[in-house]
């Protein structure tokens, strides 16, 4: 009886936690060497036309406040350590979304002398959004799918 009570309690806590995380994903944007195409699309996603505040997404300045790290571009040698540091500054639980072809695979920059490769080679990625650049609708779709994957767990 006592065991099932703790279990129910834990289940309730877990469902509250999932509800809170899926309804309030605060984002931080990091450009690790992108051509700015994806960054412009991310900014377009945050404009009143698409209004991500409907889903609780707020762009935060500080990595300490953020839950979702939105990365664009291939990782250059210069930005590798900074990307790692930004990721490590975020409090757990944290998620990473790679936006654009370069972030998912390295794109046209793959094999360049100054490029490490795609985001996954430096930090673990939870969701990939392909496209060069992806449309705002695609970015919203990617974030929503990331949140849906949280609900299934």
């Amino acid at each position: 009886m006592a065991l099932s009570l703790t279990e129910t309690w834990q289940n309730t806590l877990a469902s509250i936690k999932t509800w809170a995380f899926t309804n309030s994903p605060w984002a931080i944007h990091y450009n690790s060497g992108s051509c700015n195409g994806c960054d412009i699309e991310i900014l377009a996603t945050l404009t009143p036309r698409y209004d991500l505040e409907r889903f609780g997404v707020i762009l935060q300045g500080s990595p300490r406040h953020a839950d979702v790290l939105i990365c664009t571009g291939p990782v250059t040698l210069q930005s590798r350590d900074r990307l790692k540091r930004t990721y490590e500054q975020m409090p757990d639980p944290k998620f990473v979304v790679a936006v654009g072809s370069c972030a998912t695979s390295g794109g046209v920059f793959l094999g360049c002398y100054g490029v490490v490769g795609h985001i996954d080679e430096v930090i673990p990625v939870n969701a990939y959004i392909p496209g060069c650049p992806p449309r705002p609708e695609a970015i919203i779709d990617g974030v929503v799918k990331l949140l849906q994957s949280l609900q299934k767990k």
Binding site: I16, K17, W19, A20, F21, N23, S24, W26, P48, D51, E53, R54, G56, Q60, G61, S62, R64, H65, D67, Q89, P91, D92, P93
Partner: protein, 307 residues
């Protein structure tokens, strides 16, 4: 000696749980109104609650180079100060749970404790952004505190009392807004400065200094600071409505008057862009002079005309 009454007063109503819920609701109304003014749909009704619950579930990073006791304690101090003020103001039209002659001054200074602990929290962390944020918070505090206090004392003078309940009763028959319009405007704008809302949000300007004093706060500390700000907003709105807008006598009065004030706050937030910190200080210098001018007029005309 009844013990249950004070415990309910402190934990559930009017301070504690009740004012936290009202604070979150008002935060949502504010965000929704700003979103509507910006031609957006805006957040859902449970958004501030989801934000706070999420922050409580998150890891709290205590960075290197901070005094951990202050880092953990200052948000609690801020929330405690904000919740204490809720005991003295006429929330939902009821008389304050406690009152004594001079509680207006106590409430104003407890509201400053919220800002002070925010600034101390910023200067406690080693991040340069939070240091700049803390400096700006204090600069702004020193510039708006005097005009805000003078603006709130105008009604106290005409009511011949420093007690919020007495002023509230007096304001029920006199709309002080009509005789002291300058004081009303400055009290309202002073509340915006206190809450660091957009025209005066240089202390937490995210395009310049990341998140100001709260840059290194994550999880629980950030959530508690946000709750303290929400409570501060409700208490400030109640105070201005009680002192200037004909008093608060019943729940309908309370919600109508504070929500109208909130509509004005949201409109001003979306109308103005951020002032630089020295522009803020300059603005408040003129505001203080205007309030002083109003005081001189009040004294010269004689209290017989106004009261």
């Amino acid at each position: 000696m009844n013990i249950l009454g004070p415990i309910i007063n402190v934990l559930f109503f009017p301070a504690g749980l009740f004012v936290l819920i009202i604070g979150l609701a008002y935060l949502w109304v504010d965000r929704k109104l700003v979103a509507q003014f910006q031609n957006r749909i805006g957040p859902r009704w449970f958004q501030p609650l989801a934000d706070v619950v999420k922050l409580f579930f998150k890891e709290e990073v205590v960075p290197d180079g901070v005094d951990a006791r202050f880092f953990v304690g200052l948000p609690i101090l801020a929330l405690a100060a904000a919740l204490t003020t809720a005991l003295y103001v006429p929330l939902v039209g009821l008389q304050g749970a406690y009152n004594f002659p001079g509680d207006l001054i106590v409430v104003v200074y407890l509201l400053s404790v919220v800002t002070m602990s925010l600034a101390l929290a910023g200067s406690n962390t080693a991040s340069r952004f939070s240091l700049i944020g803390a400096t700006r918070t204090l600069t702004q505090l020193f510039s708006y505190e005097a005009p805000f206090l003078l603006a709130l004392l105008g009604p106290a003078i005409v009511a011949h009392s420093w007690q919020i309940n007495t002023i509230n009763t007096y304001a029920g028959t006199h709309w002080i807004l009509l005789t002291q319009p300058i004081g009303f405007v400055i009290a309202l704008v002073g509340l915006m400065g206190k809450l660091e809302l957009p025209p005066f949000d240089a202390p937490e300007a995210e395009t310049e200094i990341v998140a100001g004093a709260m840059t290194d706060y994550s999880g629980r500390g950030l959530a508690i600071f946000q709750l303290a700000k929400a409570v501060e907003m409700v208490v400030g709105l109640t105070l201005i409505a009680a002192l200037y807008l004909g008093g608060i006598g019943n729940p309908i009065d309370f919600f109508a008057k504070t929500l109208i004030l909130l509509l004005f706050l949201a409109g001003l937030q979306s109308l103005f862009t951020r002032f630089r910190i020295e522009q803020t200080v300059k603005w408040w210098r003129y505001a203080a002079l205007l309030v002083l001018a109003q005081w001189v007029i009040m004294v010269v005309l004689g209290q017989g005309v106004l009261s």
